[in-house]
Subunit: 295 residues, 2 copies
Amino acid sequence: MIHITEVGPRDGLQNERKHLTVAGKVEMIQRLVDAGLRYIEAVSFVNPKVVPQMAGAEDVMAAVPRREGVTYAGLVLSRSGLERALRSGIDVIHIALATSDTFNLRNARRTVEQGLEELAAVARDAVAAGTPVVGYLATAFGCPFEGEVPLHRVLSAADVLLEAGCRGMVLCDTVGVAHPRQVQAFVEAFRSRFGPDDQVPLGLHFHNTRGLGLANVYAGYLAGVRRFDASVGGLGGCPFAPKAVGNVCTEDMVNLFDQMGEPTGVDLSRLVETARWVEAQVERRLDGMMMKVGV
Amino acid sequence: MIHITEVGPRDGLQNERKHLTVAGKVEMIQRLVDAGLRYIEAVSFVNPKVVPQMAGAEDVMAAVPRREGVTYAGLVLSRSGLERALRSGIDVIHIALATSDTFNLRNARRTVEQGLEELAAVARDAVAAGTPVVGYLATAFGCPFEGEVPLHRVLSAADVLLEAGCRGMVLCDTVGVAHPRQVQAFVEAFRSRFGPDDQVPLGLHFHNTRGLGLANVYAGYLAGVRRFDASVGGLGGCPFAPKAVGNVCTEDMVNLFDQMGEPTGVDLSRLVETARWVEAQVERRLDGMMMKVGV
């Protein structure tokens, strides 16, 4: 069984020029749930003045369908975000920081060390308030400013966040530079330090910037990973590579696992319909392949 | 070392709406050679009334740069094509047929058995004339009309063509339905029947129709294959899936192997420049990723 985290409503929409209304976001999430997705990064509790695409997180959370087995996660990058998140009734909090100083300074105006300290406190407070936390390590496979990030720095950052109470970690290839051999090496190193999935659940988050998204997913799968992020339609992009595409496309990844005989719980036809609906909402041609060729 | 067969001038251009002149094709091939490609499927000896994109094969072959270590292959589908090919001075002949009857009947108006008989005779005559032949098995990983093609049919077809003197085989995913687990199984079955690469060189030819092109290349690589087809810019398409993309993109595949530390002999920057030049020639946005994000 493959566990998909659908990040279209957050990582996807956050990088789109066209902003969806709260009602539009809620309908998108409803359609994703109807297609069988069970874990959705639905909102971000960042300052809507900084990321206007993410405005109305509380209103989205108040309106999303609540169903048995459906989990909603929200992104939190600071203490003020945490307070909003806890009030919103979110199921899981995702905290995120880049593992390279240059990227984290540009993105969050903090060094990695400063960011880790603040987010560790956020994680402790969230867990104390009864809300589980998953740690996201951005630029883990490479930074557009610093190049390769030493593996020991990635693992040290994971260590700090796990010590602070995170119940799982996600390694993110924020700018799409990971390659399959590296993915295999990182997963093996992570496992040998933190143990198997029942001790520390490990997820992988790839972008398809250089066309390697699904090759990296397959490499992660071969290394034993069963948790993958993806965004419907391949929604999203990267602020540092304007012409680049976004996250690994959910329905293309579902097709990969369907073909391989690995269940995902997702109805591919319905998800392709949803991708086409999202394409109409964001008013640009999305990069997903299954939505073009059909199921 | 990875051996790339650049199929852009043939499989790529053959599916493009915009037709290149002979001079345009020669310049394209020149640029590919300058970028470091050493094995190029340059022309097709089909009837230009049926495939007008491929007109002028002899003129192209008369004008391409002849350099030490550069091999030009031409596609031959019939006896009349063979005569043209032998006169043209081509280095290697590629013969091709689909492994499913419905596809081969539509494409070549012959059953697989009829096609094999004719192409085996072509192979024998080419070898007798001193020109080596490589066999291409289309729809090996699935047919749009018949679905999965039984592996034993694919292997039997390979057997007939190898018996006829082919010096290597290429398994082709003509419509982009292959998946990594299947690729691994097919390669293992092929090897166990025909032996390792120094006995029967095996190549893989994928299309990126469902976004799995490079995942399949990686699966083939893990199974020991070192010969892959690709087209610059991801040029091409499929006549049976109008909105689908073409072959695996050469420069995206070169980037994969560069990242993995596997030499290809290709200069990625020059190849990206070439892809952008080709994009201008065919007058449509190509699907390659590296050409968008840059090296």
